[in-house]
Point group: C2
Chain length 135, copies 2
DNA sequence: GTCGGTGCAAAGCTTTTGCATCTGC
DNA sequence: GCAGATGCAAAAGCTTTGCACCGAC
């Protein structure tokens, strides 16, 4: 199956890449709709499916119920709040050597890395520590 | 809100910890039901929600549409196939130094690490390379 | 006794899919 | 011209939730 280059697919990729957040399919649909008012939600889903299966975008789960997508397939990391589901980007100083080690072991098979930490986002962490002090 | 120690919650945790795979809520429900025939799917969902929000289990997305759960919160890694969604465990030789670095930067906030690689599982990778040779 | 948990079933939402039509190659 | 893509709308399926009752503390 070869991929056709349709206007819809291009706009979806462009908008996703432009966004710095990690939108759900629905949120991306709203954004794309500003450029292509007649696009359907089904098309967005179908393209996100194809694009992630081809390693061109990243599929992020683990937060809340909805799937999120990330147009940035470069090496970077996430902290997914186990309380509210928000996704924070993490940029550690240097993980290069580890990545190289892993990639050499899995030659050609890795299309993207999403290092997802469960934990508390800043907001939830501070709320919880306040509560702990009170009680 | 303090957590009560109910039979259901205990069995759910125990069974999830025993399983070496990464079951969906529904799969876990089927397993738990052998021990507690009268438990409801809703209870399983509610407990998985509470347990993951407390960092006692790991919530895994990124594969296919359904959420998966992992009772093993020790440091380990996953390769999630971007084609078929299967989850492979990865045990790299040594990532200890990197983890320490990260954890020191995020003191007290991390409850679990799920390093999720998108890529191809062994099966899909070999199928694709066969196809490439044919065409 | 109170507050959280459970079972059941219905509701809610996200995601997928069938079909006719259209577009890229 | 054909295979793949789209729009639309309906269907499917996963997850959540209201309610009455039960159990832990």
């Amino acid at each position: 199956m070869k991929l056709s280059r349709t206007v819809q697919r291009k706009v979806i990729m462009d908008e996703l890449r432009k966004l710095k957040c990690h939108p759900t399919a629905d949120e991306l649909y709203e954004v794309v709709r500003r450029k292509l008012p007649r696009i359907s939600l089904g098309t967005v889903y179908r393209n996100l499916e194809v694009l992630s299966a081809n390693g061109e975008i990243l599929r992020l789960g683990g937060g809340k119920k909805q799937m999120c997508f990330d147009g940035d397939t470069s090496r970077h990391y996430h902290l997914i709040c186990c309380r509210c589901g928000v996704v924070e980007d993490i940029v550690p100083g240097d993980m290069g050597s580890v990545e190289k080690e892993l990639e050499s072991k899995l030659t050609g098979r890795i299309t993207g890395v999403s290092v997802d930490f469960s934990g508390y986002c800043r907001k939830c962490a501070s709320q919880l520590s306040q509560k702990a002090q009170v009680s």
